[in-house]
């Protein structure tokens, strides 16, 4: 631990870990899209940056306990949200690891493949559910509005990106993207929504 971290009980910002995670995904996507690595390697590599979710959640919890800076609200609903997201992210990692391992180790029957392939998606649905519960449980109306704004920006961004990419793909201009990437685009949209909140209201929001 550095001297700076020792003097600052809040430690590094959750956005620091989020930024590293996004950068790592950017590198993996660049490697995959330039055929430097194959799709199976890309999938396995994508598991590693997700490990940053744990320090990111811990950093966020430290900030909440420290009273919350200008970029973050505080409250029981947000703590529950972070715990839920950490749980479903962990389940996602486990499901993805099992699916990759089963696919590489043996050739499972179709029914098993369906179950294994469904599990990561269910974990992602869990994250969407956690955001929905945060909107329902958040007692601070201003913070709730910021979350709703972020979600709307994320939805608009993901659907717009999917629409444009879909037609470009049909015209054989861009590579094929698996549909789960639109969930990733949605989460990136949350980040854009947080920036918009910061510009318009001076605070990032709670997601």
């Amino acid at each position: 631990m550095t001297e700076e971290q020792l003097s600052d009980p809040k430690g590094r910002s959750p956005f620091f870990y989020g930024g590293i995670m996004l950068a790592a995904y950017g590198v993996i996507i660049a490697l995959a899209s330039t055929d430097a690595i194959n799709s199976a390697t890309a999938l396995i590599l994508m598991i590693a940056p997700l490990g940053l979710v744990i320090p990111m959640m811990k950093a966020a919890a430290r900030r909440v306990d420290a009273g919350g800076p200008a970029c973050m609200g505080k409250g029981a609903a947000q703590k529950r949200y972070m715990k839920r997201v950490a749980l479903f992210t962990s389940l996602y990692l486990i499901a993805l690891a099992i699916m990759t391992f089963a696919d590489k180790s043996y050739d499972p029957i179709e029914a098993v493949r369906v179950i294994l392939a469904t599990l990561p998606g269910l974990a992602i649905i869990g994250v969407f559910w956690a955001i929905g519960r945060l909107i329902v449980e958040e007692q601070d109306e201003f913070m709730r509005m910021l979350i709703v704004r972020q979600s709307l920006v994320a939805t608009g961004f993901a659907l717009s990106a999917a629409s444009v990419w879909g037609f470009l793909e049909t015209a054989d201009i861009v590579i094929h993207l698996d549909a789960y990437w639109w969930a990733v685009a949605w989460f990136f949209g949350l980040f854009l929504g947080a920036i918009w909140n910061r510009i318009e209201y001076g605070t990032w929001g709670a997601v």
């Binding site: 009273g67 919350g68 200008a70 609200g73 505080k74 409250g75 007692q139 601070d140 109306e141 201003f142 913070m143 509005m145 318009e200 209201y201 001076g202 605070t203």
Partner: protein, 63 residues
């Protein structure tokens, strides 16, 4: 909507966090209301009025 929150708070020597704790909201919410970036709902406006022992229209006024 304009409001007198900052003045009323200063008169009582309350920080934004003090008022936020009394209202049960975040400091960011108080800041957003105070700077006119966010107009509170009617229930929250009533709560603010109750804390300052004033009528809503004595705290908030239309632009």
């Amino acid at each position: 909507m304009k409001n007198r929150l900052k003045v009323l708070r200063a008169e009582r020597d309350w920080s934004q966090q003090d008022l936020a704790d009394r209202l049960g909201v975040s400091r960011q919410s108080v800041n957003a209301i105070e700077t006119g970036k966010y107009d509170p709902s009617l229930p929250l406006a009533f709560k603010i009025a109750e804390i300052f022992a004033m009528a809503i229209e004595e705290i908030f006024e239309r632009d």
